[in-house]
């Protein structure tokens, strides 16, 4: 997936992810924003489900973190970009963590692989001992 040369950020909002109810608030906001931008119901569902996985990952592995919700534009395309960051232990083996079914936590190990599958673009950076940042992007009119 080629990353577009220029991405213009139209709006940006940050949400703290400290407990389970924050995940629900976040996905509600994402759905509202996506709906306003004219995203299809299916893509809204995919994006908010991916967001739910990643926000829960923060709670399980990072303890706490934040999510940034951005409306973006690139040429004629508009979309939503989400950045999830935590200051958790980081991921030592990213390749292994991306495998469906791999889990060090209590979940089913579908969080990262599932979110990647559901998003148009997926990017993960992690530094052991410092934390993890995951970025996903979904276009409204791709």
């Amino acid at each position: 997936m080629p990353i577009p040369a220029t991405i213009e950020v139209l709006t940006s909002e940050t949400f703290a992810i400290l407990e389970g109810s924050h995940v629900i608030q976040l996905t509600g906001q994402i759905r509202q924003q996506a709906s306003q931008m004219g995203m299809s119901l299916l893509d809204q569902t995919k994006l908010s489900t991916a967001a739910s996985e990643l926000a829960r990952n923060i709670l399980v592995h990072g303890g706490e973190g934040k999510a940034q919700l951005e409306c973006i534009r690139s040429n004629s395309k508009i979309g939503i970009r989400l950045l999830f960051s935590d200051r958790g232990p980081g991921i030592a083996n990213v390749e292994q963590a991306m495998q469906p079914g791999f889990s060090t936590g209590i979940g089913m190990g579908l969080g990262l692989s599932g979110a990647k599958q559901l998003a148009d673009e997926f990017h993960l950076t992690s530094v052991v001992g410092e934390g993890t940042t995951v970025t996903i992007l979904k276009w409204v009119n791709d």
């Binding site: 389970g20 109810s21 995940v23 629900i24 996905t27 509600g28 759905r31 119901l41 299916l42 809204q44 569902t45 995919k46 908010s48 489900t49 739910s52 996985e53 829960r56 469906p100 079914g101 979940g107 089913m108 579908l110 969080g111 692989s113 599932g114 599958q117 559901l118």
Partner: protein, 132 residues
């Protein structure tokens, strides 16, 4: 404290999930359902998720857990009313809801429960007393 109501319908329990489940609510539902199955001798559990807009792996695990716990207590679980967008998303996510029966709506779900628990045979045998 918020709780998800469990309705009794004959031998079956009916749960309609109208809100997104957060951890506490989900764990309470598991515990309440298991308690009710035992207390009321329920043979089946029908879970209506038609109002649920997100089924992620957390929610999927809750549904699988409920089905497993119910099965150990000799009750069948059927999940009904999944939105089409949720079904597509589940498959892309890689979640298969192993061990959970599904039906399109509450009516079909009740039919399935009757078949799975043998309640349908009992009723039809009583009704027409056929000898097959």
């Amino acid at each position: 404290m918020e709780r998800i109501p469990i309705l009794k319908m004959g031998q079956f329990l009916l749960v309609t999930i109208q809100v997104d489940l957060y951890d506490r609510l989900a764990l309470d539902l598991e515990a309440d359902l298991v308690g009710q199955i035992t207390q009321l001798n329920a043979r089946g559990v029908l879970i209506d998720i038609s109002a649920v807009s997100i089924v992620d792996s957390f929610m999927g695990r809750i549904l699988s857990n409920i089905a497993s716990m119910a099965r150990i207590l000799d009750a069948v679980t059927v999940v009904v009313g999944m939105q089409p967008a949720v079904a597509i998303t589940l498959v892309e996510l890689g979640l298969s809801l192993t061990g959970v029966y599904t039906a399109l709506n509450v009516e079909k779900g009740l039919d399935l429960l009757r078949i799975k628990t043998g309640a349908a045979q009992a009723v039809s045998t009583d009704a027409d007393s056929s000898d097959d």
